[in-house]
């Protein structure tokens, strides 16, 4: 049975951003790629570097005429050690997708389970989720609370 972890309100993880957090003692990176959410173990299969701290980028492909294209922009995670490239969606390495891959976890956006309890619980869920937001934000208004009902969830 997989365990459900609420990571943060979806609004706090916009496209192109990531959140690295510890779930069940496992360091996990949660990414928003063009509005879709993915989670990878923060652990490169090569020399066990913190993979999820790497650059989110694209990569190159040469077509048959020898022309080089820039592809998959924003979908490639490059390990900060040695630069191995991984597809953020699948965890597959670019150079050997079938044999070398980073571990991935099921990631969804769904309503917070805690929102049904009461208002204070819902707020505490948001507060304890450090997405790098400043602690000096103005008080949350009604509209923002509605947006933050949706939370990013990782199962592992």
């Amino acid at each position: 049975m997989k365990k459900r972890f609420e990571i943060c309100p979806a609004a706090e993880l916009p496209p192109g951003k990531r959140e690295i957090t510890e779930l069940n003692g496992v360091s996990v990176g949660v990414f928003n790629v063009d509005g879709d959410y993915y989670a990878l173990k923060n652990d490169c299969p090569h020399q066990r570097a913190p993979l999820c701290m790497g650059k989110v980028t694209g990569t190159t492909a040469a077509n048959r005429s020898g022309k080089v294209d820039w592809t998959d922009d924003g979908h490639i995670l490059r390990c900060p050690w040695h630069g191995w490239e991984f597809d953020i969606e699948t965890g597959q390495s670019v150079f050997n997708p079938h044999k070398v891959r980073a571990r991935t976890f099921e990631t969804t956006v769904e309503s917070s389970e805690e929102e049904h309890d009461n208002e204070s619980n819902a707020r505490s869920t948001a507060d304890c989720c450090d997405c790098g937001a400043s602690g000096d934000e103005p008080p949350v208004d009604t509209y923002e609370v509605a947006v933050e009902d949706e939370v990013v969830v990782v199962y592992l």
Binding site: W81, H82, G83
Partner: protein, 368 residues
């Protein structure tokens, strides 16, 4: 991928000496203050590498909290690398060598070297702890560097001289010998580290000429070291300075048996051209040259790498290096294949301890 057995010492013996750690300044002014007045306005002006690394040059996870450059923050380095892996000694090797040998002005290059070394001593070596360091030398100016080696080399935590892998002449040339004489006198090994190849007034990074990519440059790092080593052996540097050691940093290892075998074969036939040698060339290398591991080769079968290490007598000739905080940092725990106990002890700490004359207790080494 196999995790190393050892991490922390349990019996008082050193377990990990990391022979290539790159420290840098947060701001040029830290070093400029040590330059002679005539160069203070010029500041630090050395060409940057022309080969773009798509994987970036420094690790993003090594960026300090203040956003400064990786390798510039002592607490970050200690926490992320020394404490994480149990580093007993960290041999500092400098900030990508300033591309000193690329500079056509030999006087300016030499003064930059002196200034960066004064900074390194004051800022890093005086910290004590695991830190020991290198004196960067500009080989264009051998007599000035010899003088520097005899003065700054007296610092108890200066353990070697480092010269850029590429220069204008092969390093066996007698032009450079005053540096070697001073280093031998001060009991400091001379390390060679790549970076400057093809920049400014140096030679192309490969025998084939200037490649297009960092991929090519990095693949052939060992070949430049071969060019320098065969020069040092054949011109009689190793035989003329029998107490002088050299270290090849960042060239990998697997080319070494090939290189030694070819030298010995040629010596049998062509010995008349290298009359300074009175024993097989490989023996000079085995006796006086040490090789650091990074960037280690990664054959599909790690046993093949272990066999190569056996061929080059790694239990006495190889020293671990991570290259922290650069992009191709090798993990002390995962980069190397499982080794027999004696080889592991030599590679991970023993060979460097002996070469650099390091005491068992790093705290016992004076800081000034």
């Amino acid at each position: 991928m196999t995790r190393r057995r050892t991490q922390q010492s349990t019996d008082g013996n050193l377990t990990l000496i990391d022979c290539d750690i790159h420290q840098r300044w947060k701001d040029d002014s830290e070093v400029v203050q040590y330059l002679p007045d005539r160069y203070k306005d010029r500041g630090i002006q050395a060409p940057e590498i022309l080969y773009d690394n798509v994987a970036e040059f420094s690790r993003r996870d090594a960026i300090p909290d203040d956003g400064s450059k990786p390798g510039s923050d002592i607490p970050k380095m200690k926490e992320q690398h020394f404490e994480e892996y149990g580093v007993d000694y960290a041999v500092l090797t400098g900030n990508s060598y300033l591309n000193l040998t690329a500079l056509p002005n030999d006087d300016y290059a030499a003064e930059l070297a002196v200034a960066s070394n004064k900074w390194a001593i004051d800022r890093w070596l005086s910290e004590g702890g695991a830190f020991v360091g290198s004196l960067l030398a500009a080989p264009q100016k051998p007599n000035r560097m010899a003088e520097m080696i005899r003065t700054l080399g007296q610092h108890p935590r200066v353990v070697q001289v480092v010269i850029p892998m590429a220069a204008q002449l092969p390093y066996g040339h007698e032009y450079y010998w005053p540096m070697y004489e001073a280093a031998e006198e001060m009991d400091l090994p001379i390390a060679m580290h790549p970076y400057t190849e093809s920049h400014g007034v140096t030679r192309p990074p490969t025998g084939a000429g200037h490649p297009r990519t960092y991929f090519e440059w990095h693949t052939l790092l060992g070949t430049y070291a071969m060019g320098q080593l065969v020069s040092l052996v054949s011109e009689g540097v190793l035989s003329s300075f029998p107490d002088l050691n050299f270290v090849v940093i960042e060239g990998g290892l697997s080319w070494v048996p090939h290189f030694l075998w070819r030298m010995d074969k040629n010596w049998k036939a062509l010995r008349a051209q290298v009359p300074y040698l009175d024993k097989p060339p490989s023996e000079y290398v085995t006796d006086q040259v040490r090789f650091t591991t990074q960037p280690i080769e990664e054959p599909d079968d790690p046993q093949h790498l272990l066999q190569i290490m056996e061929m080059m007598n790694a239990e006495e000739t190889v020293m671990f290096a991570s290259d922290y905080p650069h992009w191709d940092t090798d993990s002390p725990l995962y980069a190397l294949p499982p080794m027999p106990e004696e080889m592991e002890a030599g590679v991970m700490a023993g060979n460097a301890q002996e070469l650099y004359g390091l005491p068992d207790d790093p705290a016992s080494l004076p800081t000034n």
